[in-house]
């Protein structure tokens, strides 16, 4: 009975801390907006580099292969009925609206989310987080805000790059395996894909960026202060990010459907 009480108290306390975390985040974002000079630009650039430039290759590769696979699978099916050109629709829509942003989110989770949790967890072990606090510097402003800004900048750009790579992957199958002329396939792609479709997909990335960053950082702050605790925080960040990413994706898609997009 006492154990259960203890567990409940622990969970309640964690929720309280989560609310405080968001409160602090709101305050710190306001501070940085009012005094942009105080924002930690160097850190922001570092994370743009870490999550952006260094993830570009793998994003392009995975999304390219995704387009490739989609076209192949779609081609197999559609070929029996004719109308191979519709593969362009299939690849375009599923990539831009769904798979592109989701794949980018997954890659960023593995790369950035776990790194954020490990970094903040390690800083907690080394009492660096305490040191920030006793210097009167908000650890959230110092550690979370630069990561959040970097991710908000980087993920949409990565998604656009991934989308392009995926379309090219699809095109490759279209012109080889399906024997479609390049101009026909590309023309069809441009015909069905409005800028709106691209935008809807990219907008998802802002939500994903916030989710991945906040979960990673939160797990880091909550890490048990030892080596294993930091490891658990990093894994925990990845697992809960993936789950929440998919759930968020579902709700965004439902929302898009409800407004008729």
């Amino acid at each position: 009975m006492d154990r259960i009480g203890g567990e409940i108290r622990k969970i309640l306390r964690q929720w309280m801390q989560l609310v405080e975390f968001f409160g602090q985040l709101g305050l710190d974002i306001r501070t940085d907006l009012r005094h942009p000079g105080r924002h930690r630009w160097r850190e922001t650039l570092y994370y743009i580099d870490l999550c952006g430039r260094r993830s570009l290759g793998i994003v392009v590769l995975i999304c390219g292969l995704m387009g490739f696979i989609l076209a192949l699978q779609g081609g197999l099916l559609i070929r029996e009925y004719g109308g191979e050109l519709f593969v362009a629709d299939l690849v375009g829509f599923s990539l831009l609206k769904e798979l592109g942003p989701l794949m980018v989110g997954m890659i960023a989770t593995g790369r950035a989310g776990s790194a954020f949790a490990a970094e903040i967890g390690t800083m907690k072990v080394n009492e660096e987080v305490s040191a920030l606090t006793t210097m009167g510097i908000s650890p959230v402003r110092f550690l979370v805000v630069p990561k959040l800004l970097a991710m908000l900048i980087v993920l949409p750009l990565l998604a656009v790059a991934g989308d392009m790579a995926g379309l090219l992957g699809g095109l490759l199958i279209g012109v080889t395996y399906l024997d479609l002329p390049v101009s026909a396939y590309w023309g069809r792609t441009l015909q069905v894909l409005s800028p709106q479709v691209l935008t809807l997909g990219v907008l998802k990335c802002f939500v994903f960026a916030a989710l991945i960053t906040l979960i990673g950082c939160w797990r880091g702050f909550q890490a048990d202060p030892d080596a294993q605790g930091v490891g658990r925080a990093a894994t925990g960040a990845v697992v809960s990010s993936i789950l929440l990413l998919v759930v968020a994706d579902l709700f965004i898609t439902l929302f898009y459907a409800s407004i008729g997009c």
């Binding site: 108290r9 800083m123 080394n126 660096e128 305490s130 040191a131 006793t134 210097m135 009167g136």
Partner: protein
């Protein structure tokens, strides 16, 4: 005597997850005093320190620094208090992505209107003060544990604090470096009149620097002795206290 108390700890009960580590602790530290907190391993020295500097909320009781409550202060007031004291952590707690100079510069950049050049000058002075001149551009990972500690001290000194807290400053230092650190602590107090609170295990250091000490007991969860170290070594009521201060009767040959 109450008047010149700059740190007041009143009926403080602290612990983790409802389990109290220390109960109803009372003591004061006077301005300009060097005050040491002693006790067996796991008796709650670090825990007490963390509560004194406002990192953890106590179960009950109050900690007052400069006459203001740390416990009941709102965030803004607590941050104002925090700027007036410096803390050095066991491992230095330097920020790994910044050079030593940038670490020391950080509080200056946050709280002073100094230009970059002035900040760098002050930071370099602080590093020189702890014997780290020439290491300005090293990363924390590139220096030894003792040097990290001293760099952490330099950072704590950056804003010329009126009060300094140390958690085990001499742990892991060789005797000469430890003695130098003690000398530095004495110098800081004598030059700037800073009040200094030290958690330590190092008896040599205690006898060298402490004006007054308290000893905590894990069993009783309270202070079992308070006074000057030499006085307690000779005259403490509890045998355990006398033993602790004489290393269980096994003194130096």
């Amino acid at each position: 005597m109450e008047n010149d108390a700059i740190i007041e700890v009143r009926d403080l009960t602290v612990g983790y997850d409802r389990r109290a580590v220390l109960e109803k602790i009372n003591f004061t530290v006077k301005k300009g005093e060097i005050f040491c907190i002693l006790g067996g391993s796991g008796c709650g020295k670090s825990t007490l320190l963390k509560h004194m500097i406002g990192l953890l909320p106590p179960f009950s009781g109050d900690v007052r620094l400069f006459g203001e409550s740390m416990v009941y202060a709102d965030d803004a007031a607590r941050h104002r208090l925090m700027r007036r004291f410096g803390v050095t952590y066991q491992g230095g707690a330097l920020f790994g992505s910044m050079t030593l100079l940038e670490n020391v510069e950080l509080p200056l950049a946050e709280y002073t209107g100094l230009s970059r050049a002035e900040r760098r000058k002050v930071a370099a002075e602080k590093l020189a003060q702890v014997d780290l001149a020439g290491f300005e551009d090293y990363m924390p990972a590139e220096i030894s544990g003792g040097m990290r500690k001293r760099a952490g001290l330099a950072r704590a000194l950056a804003l010329d604090p009126e009060m300094l807290f140390f958690d085990e400053p001499s742990a892991g230092l060789d005797p000469i470096t430890a003695a130098e650190l003690d000398r530095l602590i004495l110098k800081l107090r004598d030059q700037s009149g800073a009040t200094i609170v030290v958690v330590t295990h190092d008896l040599d250091s205690v006898f060298a620097i402490a004006d007054r000490i308290i000893m905590l007991s894990k069993q009783d969860k309270k202070i079992v002795a308070e006074g000057s170290p030499c006085d307690l070594r000779e005259n403490a009521d509890m045998l355990w206290v006398r033993n602790f201060l004489t290393r269980d009767g096994l003194s130096r040959r």
